[in-house]
């Protein structure tokens, strides 16, 4: 199974070291190897450090203050921002539960549908490339453009279509009603994201050794049992990755909601990222408080994904 990550590179480099000579020259060669590794990574690391790590530390710093982006002075307020986010902010709580609901739906639907599509396409022989392309294409569009496009479809195209008798079901207030707009957001996110997961699953499925499947067939397993007991354990690493990506992305969702409903009507479809954005860039411009909420979001995503990766990693199986 091709293993991703630095580990294999490390092993490959170490294997090239000459196995003769004394211990000191061996460790020197090892140091040289590590040094060249670091030098290769340095440019990307510098960008990562300057544009991701430093702002995160800065955000952590400002989360303990009451800065409002304009004053020339600010005060340290300790943990009061964090306490306020938990106790006095009903909008933040509502957005947390809404995001949770959205993540749960996305997690289930995106992975299940992507896996089914991948299984289906893998069985095709001639039309594989065609299907793969059309299902992956939505992912190539920028998410904001897709959301604006769907906004037009939901507000203009579908109402027009629903005027014909057959499509009467389409006569919903797609973006106007709190309950229906949840499904509108879900539809756009799924349309965009399924392609990406599908491609990962397809790559994993291609790595399932066929002799195992044939052995199971000979032993009398039906297709469904083959799926559960042979295929899925073999692609568990892909499931770990896809689950991680889905959870990570769904918790931080912003573009789709911003372009489609802007959190509306009122605050009914406001997700956490949108709530933080609104706190910082409108109303009282409370940058300090918004940073505290952003750190809370960061910690939530960190904890959930750590748990998820740990649980699924245990289930990974080698051929």
């Amino acid at each position: 199974m091709p293993q991703l990550g630095k580990q294999s590179n490390q092993m490959a480099i170490n294997q090239v070291q000459p196995k003769t000579s004394s211990k000191s020259t061996l460790s020197l060669k090892k140091q040289k190897g590590t040094l060249s590794l670091l030098l290769f990574v340095l440019p990307a690391f510098i960008f990562y450090f300057v544009f991701l790590l430093i702002p995160t530390v800065g955000a952590g710093f400002y989360s303990f203050t009451d800065w409002n982006a304009l004053s020339q002075t600010f005060h340290f307020v300790g943990f009061s921002n964090y306490i306020e986010a938990f106790k006095d902010d009903p909008d933040f709580r509502h957005s947390f539960f809404f995001t949770l609901k959205y993540t749960a739906f996305m997690f289930v639907f995106q992975n299940v549908i992507a896996l089914l599509l991948a299984l289906f396409i893998e069985t095709r022989v001639r039309t594989k490339g065609f299907f793969r392309t059309i299902f992956f294409m939505p992912n190539m569009l920028s998410l904001i453009i897709s959301a604006l496009m769907f906004s037009f479809i939901f507000s203009n195209v579908l109402p027009e279509l629903s005027k014909k008798a057959i499509f009467h079901l389409l006569d919903q207030p797609w973006i106007g009603d709190a309950k229906v707009s949840f499904y509108s957001i879900l539809i756009v996110s799924l349309w965009h994201g399924i392609g990406y997961m599908m491609v990962i699953y397809m790559a994993a499925l291609q790595g399932v050794p066929s002799h195992l499947k044939e052995a199971a067939m000979i032993d009398g397993a039906n297709p469904f049992q083959r799926l559960i007991h042979v295929t899925i354990p073999m692609i568990m690493h892909a499931i770990t990755i896809c689950a991680f990506l889905t959870l990570n992305g769904a918790f931080k969702v912003f573009d789709v909601v911003y372009a489609l409903t802007a959190g509306g009507p009122g605050r009914s479809t406001q997700v956490m990222a949108l709530n933080i954005y609104e706190e910082a860039f409108s109303n009282n411009f409370r940058y300090g408080y918004a940073n505290a909420k952003a750190m809370i979001l960061f910690l939530i995503v960190l904890v959930i994904t750590l748990i998820q990766v740990k649980v699924l990693k245990k289930k990974e199986v080698e051929a």
């Binding site: 409002n68 207030p173 009603d177 709190a178 509306g264 009282n284 411009f285």
Partner: protein
Amino acid sequence: MKKAISSVLSFMLGIGLLAGCSSNDTASSQNDTKASKQVELKVFIGQPRFKKQYETYFDQFVKKEKQDKNIDVKIKLELPNVNQASQLLKTRLASGDSPDIFSLHAINDIPLFNKAGYLEDLSKEPFADKLYDTVKPAVTTTDGKVVAVPLETLQWGYLYNKKIFSDLGLKIPQTMSEMKETVKVLKQHNITPFLLTYKDAYIPQLFLPLTVGGDVSTTTPDFIKSMNEGKGSFKDVKDLFNVMDLVNANGTKRAFENGQDQGASDFANGKAAMWVQGPWMADSIVSANKDFEFGVAPLPINDDPKATLLNLSTSTSLAVSKMSKNKAVAKDLINYILDDKDSSDFYKSLGFNAVSKVHTFEPFPWLKESSDYVSQGRAYQDPAIPSAVKDESQKLFQSYLAGDASKADVIKGLDRAWDQFNKNNK
């Protein structure tokens, strides 16, 4: 061969990177051999659509300054996108790279910027005396200092379709009962009375200044003061929901799917007779239908005709930064904005209303009657509701109109928003 191609390509890429660097515009500066003073002014205005007009006017200023005071002014004009302007300005101020002159929203931004100490006092400048009395309060802080020169001013209530009104012989309603009559007549003729466009959250929010302004001018004059002291409540604004409910009950369908752009085109095509909006949409409306005739009328909020008034508000204004190192020349530029000779043409080319006695051009056709109202004194200054409360009211009114929030919820939310504003801006 390969090396040659790759080196040429990387050279081109490098040039491309450099070309993408700064793209600030500079007005012309005259290279004189006389010993003249060199001054560089950084001007920041969030209105990229008026680039030509500002450049022309600032060129005139540079010539005048050279003539009168022998100072070579180099103006670095920055016109960022409307949506990013506010953030960009705050970043500049926070990092110490303050522009000498910048634009800000008079009603929403002046209190905050003044409190943070970024606005220079311009009360003694000549332009301050040239302003109309109806406009001056908007650029004056609570401690009586004039801090900006107004550019965009507005008179608004709601827009009405002149053709529909004249066809049916309707007069502008002066009270709620007359408005209800008008609505009845329109419905009898199968015309939708009101255009509803709630997708853009600022549109439901327009009811807030309209109702508060009307009440503050008649029954509850101390409302703003008591709210700032933490003693009042939005319960005191008795007419907050009356006209909102009337409009909402007699309007177009699918209100939450339509925003200002769709609304402008619908209104211009006669889909409804009235639209609670302001003349800032005039451009979009006229471009949707060139021959469309509409007017601005005051919105009645109760049965007292004295409370049916127009809202006078000032939005974009230019201020001088307290951190500026070229205050004298900056103040000259600000004074030139209301220059006795050149200002009239300038404001006319921008499509702004007259703000001062030096302006001698005709108002727009849709503002003819509203200007009469203003000169009769039937108007009030846009109430000084904190912009945090206005932002919050966008969400609350949207929820109320969608049926997700009750009147009590809205009142509680607005009171809480004002309390938070007081707490965060002590």
